[in-house]
Symmetry: C2
Subunit: 487 residues, 2 copies
Amino acid sequence: MQTLIKYNEMNVLNEKELLFLQSALTLENSYNSTAEIIRWLKERNQKVEVEITRIKFSQMSSWLFDEKSTSLRHTTGKFFKIEGINVETNWGEVESWDQPIINQPEIGFLGILTQVHNGILYFLMQAKIEPGNVNYVQLSPTLQATKSNYTQVHKGNKPMYLEYFLDRENNDILLDQLQSEQGARFLKKRNRNIIIQVKENIPEHEDFRWLTLGQIKQLIQSDNLVNMDTRTVISGIPYGNHAKQTVDFYNVMNHSTALSIQAKMLASELDRETAKHTFDEIIHWFTELKAKYDLDIKSKKLSDVEGWEITENSIRHKKNKYFQVIAVDVMISNREVKSWNQPLIEPAQEGICAFIAKEIKGRYHFLVQAKLESGNFDILELAPTVQCLTGSYDTAKSLNTLPFLNYILTADKEQVIFDTLQSEEGGRFYREQNRSMIILVGDDFSTDVPHNYSWMTLNQLKTFIKFNNYLNIQARSLISAITFIEE
Amino acid sequence: MQTLIKYNEMNVLNEKELLFLQSALTLENSYNSTAEIIRWLKERNQKVEVEITRIKFSQMSSWLFDEKSTSLRHTTGKFFKIEGINVETNWGEVESWDQPIINQPEIGFLGILTQVHNGILYFLMQAKIEPGNVNYVQLSPTLQATKSNYTQVHKGNKPMYLEYFLDRENNDILLDQLQSEQGARFLKKRNRNIIIQVKENIPEHEDFRWLTLGQIKQLIQSDNLVNMDTRTVISGIPYGNHAKQTVDFYNVMNHSTALSIQAKMLASELDRETAKHTFDEIIHWFTELKAKYDLDIKSKKLSDVEGWEITENSIRHKKNKYFQVIAVDVMISNREVKSWNQPLIEPAQEGICAFIAKEIKGRYHFLVQAKLESGNFDILELAPTVQCLTGSYDTAKSLNTLPFLNYILTADKEQVIFDTLQSEEGGRFYREQNRSMIILVGDDFSTDVPHNYSWMTLNQLKTFIKFNNYLNIQARSLISAITFIEE
């Protein structure tokens, strides 16, 4: 903290960046220790009774296959639909395929309220139950709401704290970005990721707790504690954009001898100048790939989707690959009993997402993949070095064909700085957790990479995050896990 | 130039930015004076015989209405199609309408070759004939090519200099961006805007001349000399991104007394720091608008497009509004005779595009409009303060309802720093020229603006241009006209 204040005397951080950076560097919390938060999440989990029962599609009271099985949808037409698409592309080995996909055209809110307490920015986080979560309760943003939620609010149905997101007159917007969801599962879906600083006092509620950003990042180091929505919102947080000289000053102040991994991560995050490729070079690389690859999506009736079949219980790939759409009955009893039914997506296997990072020119660079997925808004998004969610990753075929997969799975223990299971969004995905890794590689790892890969600093990745539809959700999830604090 | 070298001794410009900036500040050309270029364009225009004859759709040999009039297309299915769409949106007064639109899903090249000669970067520009141009020949990029052009090149059909854009091993990429076309006329169309620096000697050709960037910008100050494709490519050129202090130093070096408009424009272009709104604030403003407004496009058979009719000679709005699609026979005789027929879009009236600029915190800020158009790739794009292309602008209704239009049309002469007619792309549009203006306003002009308008410096606009689908083509066209040289 001492260093941070010195740093700020140089006047390079704006107030917002300073608040974020201080919070990211703080683990002490005058409200709740991290241990208390973990205990609280466990307790909420034990108190709640959740019953998830697989049912037949025909048993769903509020969902139906519409006329001629064009789509699976809610009786009101709201929420989301499961539709069919045909995909044509010159990317990869398969030129054309059919698949079911989630269509949810509304832009929803993923929002976090924050407040300054004793000079530190605190984030109001929720212990939220989602039917698909492996452990039911995970740490979630203050608000997750669809446009239907917040424009046509029914009595008693109003999400907590919604009013702070609709009427923001006295509050400051600290972050407000459109970000994509899983491109292989959602058709061009985006959410509005928003962080608001509230000046007035916020009423407390037993499902909510105040955490520092450092604490949230600390919880991400464990399996399945922090939900995907939280991870995407905090991934976009800007900590500033400074000249090399300032960052060097900061490093010297902070660590007179060898820098820790965390200090080096912070330098990669804050230094605007030192990078293997200029920003314009990266834009050129990405433009070339977008001009080269086509992605042509056509709607298809769900019943016509080739290679897939609709059974009583699921919409499934005929060879049991990728994922299946199932129907579940949900009963949650807590203070009140809630029950409903809905479709969920169940993955065929556990996946893996991993970033390789390497020190180049004294700064950590991440090996980023330009990846095409069927539901992408704009052909390609920037993805982790390895992203294998739709096929088994530990097969001989995957190991032989997926670049860098083998390297990651056989990396030395001391190279692995992050290795946890993280959940996909439990409101749509059934017990989907994917292995999430960050691997540090040494000088022996070549900087020459295939044409759809490029090296970028954290600062460059953060710049792309500000703009729509650059980093995909898996890349953002891994970035959210990066901490600047040595424990 | 002296100043520029001093400036560069501070080591703040990278080599690429220095080349661009030097070229933008240079009017002397050891190959051709600007007067010679104008004479050459006129001469090319006089030498060529162009005959454009309106014909009936049924007289077109290579274009047809396909089965049940779904679309108007080329017999090979290539080039582009005229299709029908239905538009639904909560933007503006009209919630739903039908219209014809151009669908050309390929990403084409708009490319300029450059070369350094005596330390100055020169641009290889073409005197190109387009059937729709009011004056036939305009100054065009080195290459305009569709993907069909460059992937399936027929013998004798290869565009000049194409090889430099396909095999770039020995050359440097100076700029490479995806940029949108007219959102009201094209369905999600984008081009790849690219500038390449060639190291080897380039063979000359009588249709091509070397110009400095300063000369190109000088020619844009006249009516219809520089085509839209050139204007969009040069609009994205980065001149650097520097701290306020550096820019102030540059200004003081250059002009010890009052700064000229051009020097102030350069400061607005180079200064990363001084702006009314931070970049994150602008991202928030734009995110909010994108989350608020919906744009839902559905394909429709051309014959079913409501409010429009297909006659023998045109696809036209029943009240003669907006534009009509016509068929023309083109005969161009120069060295060889070429003839073909094609559809063109003819506007119903002349339009207007204008930016209001105002000095705020010592830097010029442009009043930017977030505008929804039916063919936009991502709901909204950043447009000029006034953009009125689809309805008559000098009617009482327009003057009363379009923000800032009246102000612009009644501005004092000394406020108007740019006022010319500029052509839309002559390969698609029939004699479409729009009035293009930049107006400087004083302290009496309020900085309070409607919610879909915001003030941005040139530096901020340039940052947005780097990313896909932010600035629309009309905004980019006006930015291309901004010069940093006092004549």
